[in-house]
Amino acid sequence: MVDKIKVENLSCCYNKKCVLDSLNINVIQNEILSIIGPANSGKTTFLRTLNRMNDLDVTYLRKGEVYLDNDNIFNMNMENLRKRVGMLFAMPIPLPMSIYENIIYAPKRLGLILKKSEQDAIVEQALRDASLWNEVKDRLDSSAMKMSGGQQQRLCIARILAINPEVILFDEPCSGLDPISTAKVEESMIELKQKYTIVLVTNNVKQASRVGDRTAFFLMGNLIEIDKTDKLFISPKERQTEDYITGRFG
C-alpha cells in the first residue's frame, strides 16, 4: 500500500486561533478516507489545506508539511497542485454556463484540449463517470443552473474528472442533498476509487461507515483515532470516538 498523501506536523491557525494542532496522517492510494468529527474539529480546514484553497484566506497561517507522492505541496505551483488534487464543495457550485461548457471549462483553460474534436469525447466520458450522462445527454446546451441539486453536485464531480486529477477531496458533498441523490453520489464515489484517491469529510457518521475504507476521527483540532472503517465502528480504541459514533455528543 502506497501513501498518496503524507501529512507531517501540520498546524493551522486563522487569526491566531488554532484549529489544527500538529497533525500527522496519511492517505493511501486508491482508498476512501473518511474524516468525521463535530463542528470546529478542523476537518474542513485540513481538507482545504490539501489543495491549498486556504491560501486565499489572508488570516490563515500554517506550519508543517504535506507531501503528495513525495513532493512537498507547498513548494508546488498552485495551479499544478489543484489540477492534481480536485475539490468538491459542500454546496454544488455550477458555473453560470451550459452543462457542456461547465465540463469543458477547466480542460480548455489548462490547455488539456488540443483539438476541438476531442471535446465531445471528454464531456461524454466525464458525465458517464459521474453517472449523469443518461440524464443530461439531450440537454447539454441548457444552463447548469437549472439542474436539480443532486444533478448539480454530480456535474461538479464530472467537472473534476474532466481534468483527470489524482486525488479528489469531498467536503460534506451531500449536506444539501436528499437521500436518493446522496445514494447516487456515494455510488459514484465508490466507483471512483478504482482510479482516484478520495478524502471525504462528512458530518454524517453513517455515510463514513458506508463508503470509507478507513475512517479518521477529529476532535478540537486533534486526530483522535484512525483505523479501518469496520474496526473503528465496531471496536473503537478511544472513549471519545465511541461517544461520537454512538451519538452521545456532537
Partner: protein
C-alpha cells in the same frame, strides 16, 4: 405633547411622506415642461445640422453637438479601461490592509470633489503644463480624471456582485487567477459595468465646469478636425447663449437646453433598457 389617535397619526404621516415625494417630483416636471414648451419649436433638422449664424442669434448648434460628442467619446475611452483595470486590481488582487483601505477611501472621496476643482486642475496640468492647449484632448483628460473614481466604484460593485463561490470553484479546478477573472468574473460583471458606464456618459455630457477652461470656446467657425482643436460644447454654448449675448431669441436658448436634455435622458434611458435586458438574461 399631544397624543394623536393611531388613525390620525397614520393619516398624518402618510400625507407628509406623500407631500415630500410630490415636492421632489414637481421641480423636475416644471423644468422639463418649460424647456419643452419654449424649445420644441426651435428643434428642426436645420437647427441640429447647421453652423450658428449672426452672432449665434440664428442658425444651428451643430459644432456644439459634435464638440460635446467628441469630448465625451474621448473621455470615456480613456477612463473606462483604466477604471476597470484599477477596479479589478483593487478587488481581485490586493489584500485588505491599511494601505489598500486608504486607497479605496481616497477613491470614494475623490468622487465628491467639486467639478470646478477638476476644471482648474485640468487647466494647470493638461492645458498649461503639458501644453495641450485648450483642446478636445485636454477636456477629455480632465473629464476622465473626474469620472475615474465613479467608474472604479461602480466597476468594483459589479465585480463584487459576482458570487465568491464562482471564483473558488474555478480556482479549485487549477485554473489560474487571471483566467478566472477573464473567463468567469468579468463576463458576469459586464452588465453592471456597462450600465454604470452609460450613466457616467450621461453625467459627463452635461458637465460644464471641467471643460470650461480646458476645451470649450465661445465660437469656432469650423467643425472640429482633430483632438487638438478647441471646440464648442453644448453645456457651455447654453451658458453663452443664455447670459453673454444680448437680444438672444428665447427659442434658441430653450432649443439648446432641450437638445442637451434629450441627449442626457436618452443615454440614461439606454442604461435602464440595458439593465432590464441583463437582469432578464442573468444566469444565476
Amino acid at each position: 405633547m399631544i397624543k394623536l389617535s393611531p388613525k390620525l397619526s397614520q393619516k398624518l404621516s402618510y400625507s407628509i411622506l406623500f407631500l415630500a415625494t410630490i415636492l421632489a417630483i414637481v421641480p423636475v416636471v416644471v423644468i422639463i415642461f418649460t424647456i419643452i414648451k419654449n424649445g420644441a419649436s426651435a428643434i428642426t433638422w436645420d437647427f441640429l445640422t447647421s453652423m450658428p449664424k449672426d452672432g449665434m442669434r440664428t442658425g444651428g448648434i451643430l459644432p456644439a453637438v459634435l464638440g460635446t460628442f467628441s469630448i465625451v467619446t474621448c473621455a470615456i475611452s480613456i477612463t473606462l479601461p483604466i477604471g476597470v483595470f484599477a477596479a479589478i486590481y483593487l478587488n481581485e488582487y490586493t489584500r485588505n490592509n491599511l494601505l489598500t483601505r486608504i486607497i479605496k477611501l481616497a477613491i470614494v472621496n475623490l468622487a465628491g470633489v467639486p467639478s470646478v476643482v477638476y476644471g482648474l486642475f485640468g487647466l494647470g496640468i493638461f492645458v498649461m503644463f503639458l501644453k495641450l492647449g485648450v483642446s478636445v484632448i485636454a477636456g477629455a483628460l480632465t473629464l476622465s480624471i473626474m469620472e475615474l473614481p465613479v467608474i472604479i466604484t461602480t466597476a468594483r460593485g459589479a465585480l463584487n456582485s459576482v458570487p465568491y463561490s464562482f471564483r473558488e470553484a474555478s480556482l479549485s479546478l487549477g485554473v489560474s487567477r487571471w483566467q478566472t477573472i477573464r473567463h468567469i468574473v468579468l463576463p458576469n460583471a459586464l452588465p453592471g459595468i456597462l450600465t454604470g458606464t452609460i450613466l457616467s456618459i450621461a453625467r459627463i455630457s452635461g458637465e460644464t465646469a471641467p471643460i470650461l477652461f480646458t476645451a470649450s470656446v465661445f465660437y469656432v467657425p469650423h467643425l472640429p478636425h482633430s483632438i487638438f482643436d478647441q471646440v464648442m460644447t453644448l453645456p457651455y454654448h447654453l451658458y453663452i447663449v443664455s447670459t453673454q449675448i444680448p437680444n438672444m431669441p428665447k427659442k434658441i436658448i430653450f432649443g439648446t437646453a432641450l437638445v442637451l436634455l434629450i441627449m442626457v435622458l436618452t443615454i440614461s434611458f439606454m442604461a435602464i433598457i440595458a439593465r432590464i435586458y441583463f437582469r432578464k438574461h442573468r444566469k444565476w
